[in-house]
Amino acid sequence: MSQALVSLTIDGVEVTVPVGTKIVDAAKQAGIEIPVFCYHPKLESVGMCRQCLVEIGRPKIDRSTRKIVRDKNGDPVIEFGPKLETSCTTPVGEGWVVLVNSERAIEGRRQVIELILTSHPLDCPICDKGGECPLQNMTMAHGPGKSRFLYEDKMHLAKHVPLGDLIFLDRERCIQCARCIRFQTEIVDDPVIAFSERGRKLEIVTLSEPGFASYFSGNTTDICPVGALTTADFRFGARPWELNATASICPHCAVGCNTMLNTRREARSQGRVVIKRVMPRQNEAVNEIWLCDKGRFAHHFASSEERLARPVIKLKRRGRLTATTWENAVKFVVEGLQAAHGAVLGIAGGRASNEDLYALHRLMDGLGGRAVLHDQMAGGEFVQQAGVGPGTNLADLGSGDCILVVASDLHEEAPIWWLRVKQAAERGAKLIVANARPTRLDAHATHILRYDYGVAAHMILGMLHEINHQKELDQYASAETKKVAKVVSKANNVVVFYGSEGLDYAASHDLAQNCATLLAASGHVGRANNGLVAVWTHSNTQGAWDMGVHPEPGGLAAALKGQKAAYVVAADPAGDEPLLTSLLEQVDFLIVQGLFLTETALAADVVLPAQSFVERDGTYTNGMRRVQRFFPAIAPNEGMRADWEILSAVAAAMGIDSARPSAAAVMQDIAAKNRDYSEVNYPALSRNASQWPHVGGKDIYFGGTAHPNHQGLGVQLTPRVERQKDISFDWAAPRKIAHKPRYLMVPITKLYDRGTTVVQSQVLGPRLEILRLYVNPEDAERLGMIDEGEVEVQWDGRKQRLRSVIDEHVPSGAVLVPRSLGVPLATAVDVKIRPIAL
């Protein structure tokens, strides 16, 4: 598809850009800087600040002939308007002559700065933005040295207004560009901040409850061109120029947002190097220049005081944990593993890096045991086969394309995907949202499908029926599935996001398989912008599958049967599921490797302190199978080792393999063994490409303070279907769902749960979810429950008292309970509910 082009001259430079390009962007592409405040390349132009004023000359048109007037040399006569014009609102025109650095334009912009500064406090020395402030930079570059305005007329306004728990507003510093308000309205669709009053009295307000509590609120501080908006985390924490920056990958969900960890060695942290803030790092194919607030504000766990710092062993006789040296600990581990004679199980969590998981798999393999993933959601093999192809970018999806989101609440589980899927829908992509209950994405859906919890896979079969017309699928088809199946089959590109809300291992396996089959049947696999994406709970669950570490159908309880030793890496099965504690204790020898003294670690014979993702390097593979690298930002405590390093040392001590010197070397092993990763190596992961829009750098006013990406965009793996033409997909008949006489309690994911990685955040505290049981009003009436009353829930011989909330969005027959808040519930269960009389 070729786009019509327009040529013009900007400050003597010939520029050719697509029709509709704004002058400010055309100039940027030609390397000519036009300063801006309100304009942002990701937002609609509004022309509010007037900082981008330029002179625009247009070819003179003869009114009678409608032809361009030419001079005696045959060149078009250029006519300049009487006034300067805003280059951010004016699309380019053929043959135009734009003067950015003419005397008039410079004077115009100088006066705008002078005007903006009339009420600016100029408290740069104490301002968080000082040092990376567009207004400060622009004043130095374009501003006048003196002001003609009267100091007495300066507005004196509130300087510490909490707009919410995370964002503070300094009313004096605000220059009324509305970038934050437009971001919340246009990009996030959560208009909880707005302007009130007019003129010099204009101010940003929130009247929402509980204030500026958007999951994306931190981004407004990046695009704020002054220090008006600051975060509770970084506010008065450090000066930007004192900070070192290390590239990292967010460890919180399967999106894999690229981040930059800003660190500083400081006296107030006893001379340690600490993370001062987490900033987004541009990767237009992953997170663009955004970051959700969990990624930004839940980093404190990595440098927590409660971290394990030395290996500890427990001699059974004494039953107490005793600190020891690494040498002793490894020896102890080796002895314990040897005594197990191959009856050994590796248990890993989805937070471990590819290198860790590979090393665990290798060790278990060498011992004659196996490694499993502590997770409930299945389907990783279908993502390997039919995942999205290289070159996939949700930003490319729009009119003519289709996105299906099934069994997932993206806004809670993977906020940046939610944002980008929503934007694809706004560009005209058909968005099918299928879930048992309404979610926030419904507001942007073109088609909403409801099903009863547990029958997600059945519904996909109904859609498949419309495509392959197999008789056996008749039973699953309905008018609704017919309609949406047509949307899917007609679309140019289709991406399917599947999650596991209300689904156990088997049901999520069926869902993944049927989604992959649907995609294959409708011709939407094996190329960019088509395929299956898993909304995993952890950052590297897909990587675990790729490394051969995945959950087993019977779960950990079944896998632990008959095992003499267990080796737990980056997981806390006993903490997640107390019933597993006794099973883990029954194992003769339990090794636990991790950051904290978890429930599982308390049951262990050896506890080995691992380095967190901020202290080491490694790679994660995100839900779209993009392998991305993170770097060490902080020197680890001497007593901590990287997971892969410990595992490699144990393997070497047992004569299984030689010890590997670095994570990069482990990745070389992975590439040699795993065909999917054959192109992956650390240099390849560090490869870069120029990205639009420009962020960071000298032109910080343009895109904001998100960091440019110099450390690599990662490598998106090729799905097997693209390589192996013989892969075929077949649907799986899902299990029949038995009629339930009781209620189905479904764990749902909330962004701010009370998991170890979140609860330690120093600023997210007030935003954390509170444990509640959500019940449908009719069910509540039937059960005789009241809102905010207490109920007793019984399942599998367990009892728990919970506070209940009546919520019309809960499907009838189900009760919802957020995960990681105190109810150890991995998957949906039948429960009995009894209200407790007051």
Binding site: V192, A194, F195, S196, R198, V205, T206, L207
Partner: protein
């Protein structure tokens, strides 16, 4: 609750706009709320937002933008005196000052009987008949031109009588 008391009127207002563009009804609903309570109370703001599926912040932003929408309680009658240039040249500032002094309130204040508030406003587009003032009450806005202290006091006496009756 507005929705209980003015059910049919709200329904009639909403009916004027396409169901998908409910938000367009925000101004008439705010007028309704202001007529009912004299100003837009926080509860009314939230109610209007809920009726139109808007965020309360969006509604609040409008109240902040429009000078004739009030989020603070004041007298039943708001005497709004223009003090922009043409009116000022014809003595509006002096008028406002003396009127307030007569009523025993400061500019922007409300009489203890809760009936009269005197405010200073920007141009009312009555420059040829300066000084101009307007009275904002539940019925809307009423112009009073070529004002003097005497005529303004007479007007206020009328309003006080009217106000204390109803």
């Amino acid at each position: 609750m507005l929705a209980d008391k003015h059910k049919s009127e709200i329904k009639a207002i909403l009916k004027k706009y396409p169901a998908k563009e409910k938000r367009s009804a925000v101004m008439p609903l705010l007028f309704l709320a202001q007529r009912e309570y004299g100003h837009i109370t926080p509860a009314a703001l939230v109610e209007v937002a809920e009726l139109l599926e808007l965020d309360p912040t969006e509604v609040g932003s409008l109240i902040g933008f429009y000078t004739l929408l009030h989020d603070e309680a004041a007298g039943k009658y708001r005497i709004q005196i223009c003090t922009d240039l043409p009116c000022a040249l014809r003595g509006a500032e002096e008028l406002a000052k003396r009127l307030c002094a007569n009523l025993g309130i400061r500019l922007g204040g409300t009489m203890t009987n809760g009936l009269i508030t005197v405010e200073e406003v920007m141009c009312l587009a009555g420059c040829d008949k300066a000084p101009t003032l307007q009275v904002q009450d539940a019925d809307g806005i009423h112009y009073h031109e070529n004002q003097t202290l005497g005529s303004a006091m007479e007007l206020i006496a009328e309003l006080m009588e009217k106000g204390s009756d109803g």
